[in-house]
């Protein structure tokens, strides 16, 4: 069981020092989690620390591949509003 960081990670360094298992490392494009080391923080914390500080919605997936912080959960921006704003921007 392990979490996974995907390519929307912005390399903010916030998660890496918090990992009790030293499972997070900086790689070429973005931070990664070593699945053999990640314990999902079990026994250390109530919630996985990386996903608890990560500011980017969707950047961290759980063992089932689900987004731990889905769109709108961190910024409070309703996903359809965000889509609208971005669509308006592209139209220009």
């Amino acid at each position: 069981m392990a979490l996974k960081i995907i390519n929307t990670c912005v390399n903010c360094y916030a998660c890496e020092p918090l990992c009790p298992s030293k499972a997070i490392y900086k790689a070429e494009a973005h931070f990664l989690i070593n699945p053999r080391k990640c314990t999902e923080c079990d026994g250390d914390y109530d919630t996985p620390q990386c996903a608890t500080i990560c500011p980017i919605e969707g950047a961290i997936l759980d063992a089932k591949g689900m987004e731990i912080n889905p769109p709108g959960s961190l910024t409070g921006i309703p996903p359809e509003k965000m889509a609208e704003a971005m669509a308006a921007l592209q139209a220009h």
């Binding site: 903010c12 360094y13 916030a14 980017i56 921006i77």
Partner: protein, 497 residues
Amino acid sequence: MELPVLNETPAASAGGCSSHSCGSSDDQLGHLSDEIRAKVENHPCYSEDAHHYFARMHVAVAPACNIQCHYCNRKYDCSNESRPGVVSELLTPDQAVKKTMAVAATIPQMTVLGIAGPGDPLANPDRTFETFRRLSEDAPDIKLCVSTNGLALPESVEELSKHNIDHVTITINCVDPEIGAQIYPWIFWENKRIKGVEGARILIEQQQKGLEMLVAKGILVKVNSVMIPGINDKHLAEVSKIVKTKGAFLHNVMPLIAEAEHGTFFGVMGQRGPTQDELMDLQDACSGDMNMMRHCRQCRADAVGLLGEDRGDEFTLDKIEEMEIDYQSAMVKRKVIHEAIAEEMHSKRAKKDEAAAKHAEAKKLDTRPVLMAIATSGQGVINQHFGHAKEFLIYEASPNGVRFMSHRKTDLYCSGDDTCGDGESVLQRTIRALEGCEVVLCSKIGYEPWDMLEKAGIQPNGEHAMEPIEEAVMAVYEEMAAAGKLDDAEGRIRATA
């Protein structure tokens, strides 16, 4: 007629009342002790006088953050401290130290190194403090400062006080958790993500505690607030009063910058920023209780050079790698240059004081105040072409003299020509940024902008090129008075509100 300069008048000559609110002259820093004055004298961000001469730089070493602000999009930058959408070059402490020393050796006017966004410096204690530790040892003539959201401040005060850090900026947008919940969706606290009012309450407590601890240690504290209409605009005068009571020495109220393309909560949800008038009114409301910092440029997190200029391109990573820096001899040179600048500042100031004293005796005009915009690239003179100005200094002229009010950037409302939604030209945008001003003083101006400015009711004026700003502003004001343009008691300034 003499030259009165309110910001420069010593409090002692203010005729017994040194408070800004009674309308008499007051030095921006007049209420400070000699010890604090000495600290800020060559600090471009704190001394209105010094920022024409001394330079500052920022290094981005601290990308992680422990809170979320609704005016920030973490995919880019800390929009609180820098221009939104512009990603700064993230440096390791090693690179940051090298870059700082390279800049200090090349631009001897550079006196201050700041660590601000993107991210929160105190949420990155290892990177931030390693940078500070090494600079305070190897380059002791550089002042260090740090900007923080305050969440981790109380635990950092001890370490901060060990270095050359005598200035800390805390961004405090509220003292009421209900208001805070509308600005901060969450904080990361004791290994948990805490949302809403509870998170805001903890953040506010930490900020206030940190402020008190810094003041107790004798470290100067400046407070930044982002003015968000409909959310904290009415509340900020109260914030100003509280932070002053606790010993903060400057309060800097900055306008919210929020456009949909920044991808911030406020941008996407259509929260507007304040108008220039609303901002100035609030700054006035706060300044009764607090000397306001009006010359903040909300500079980029990695800006280099005098305020308002950016020489960052000369110091990219590959360029500094190649530079050989002999800091010992650079320090000797820097000292000589700093002393010469200090001397020039003192003699200019003495002249202004003298003029202001004479003005106090002269017969008072009975005319309304006027706002004027100045195109300048520094040194306190009108020396910039209108078309080259990326920002303008705003001065108010009145029978009481000349007072520095603020800076206005021409690109504040738009991140780039292509992304500008309403298809405004640069010139139209500039004119909009000058709302409320009646005159623009510059060294030169083209025919087309001249015409458009006049049509917008702003009189361009290139007759005072290379003259000291305050003298020119007063001269133009007197011309306007003599021509009978200032007799309408209401005044244009408030008329546009």
